[in-house]
């Protein structure tokens, strides 16, 4: 579950940054922005749910923080 979450978060992050680069162009690709928003929010929800499955309540309301070693 951790490995899948890591992989999916990286994919969502790459998609969001890719869309942001396109957003610098004069014509904004609205459907592509909506696609990034869909993937990023669904990934966030799925990852939070897995954290809850692994750690119980501590996975969502504890003092812990996610660690990114980007």
């Amino acid at each position: 579950m951790l490995g899948r979450s890591r992989a999916e978060l990286e994919a969502a992050r790459a998609l969001v940054l890719n869309r942001a680069r396109e957003g610098n162009a004069s014509s904004i690709p609205w459907p592509r922005i909506a696609a990034a928003k869909l993937v990023a929010t669904e990934t966030g929800k799925e990852t939070a749910d897995r954290a809850l499955q692994i750690l119980g309540g501590e996975g969502i309301v504890g003092d812990g923080h996610p660690i990114f070693d980007s």
Binding site: R13, L17, A20, R21, N24, H65, P66
Partner: protein, 162 residues
Amino acid sequence: MTSPDILEMDFDSYLETIRRFTDEELIPGEAAMVEAGDVPPALMARIAENGLFGITLPREWGGLDWSMEQQVRPTLEFTRASPVYRSRFSTTIGLCSQILHDHGTDAQKETYLRDMATGRCVTSFALTEPGAGSVSRSPGSASSRPCWAEAVQSWRQPEHWS
């Protein structure tokens, strides 16, 4: 108020500054923020000093004029902390300042944009009517007079943290 150091920074230094601000002030401040039920004024002042109210607006209005990608990258940093912080400036940097910048009159821009870019004027967006739901295009009412100024005025922040 945005610090002069922040206004002179290149993007890489700015990103590192926001990364450190997140780790050293926003995340450690979460417990006190939850206890107080609000973001403490001293931390709101630090958010403004770090230019977070100005990441979307052009330099001529006191903003940092970052590109879309340059707005997203610090966002990926400060959203490692509680989303409560983000919600204190997100409507100002996005929804409200962008509408005013793109569609406001020259007088409205003169009156509000510099204060919005530096955190002195915090704005929200109210758009509803019975049955409107969450789709911003669904309301059918049209305003017959400008109501923006009154709405913004009532949200102008106290000087002590700006």
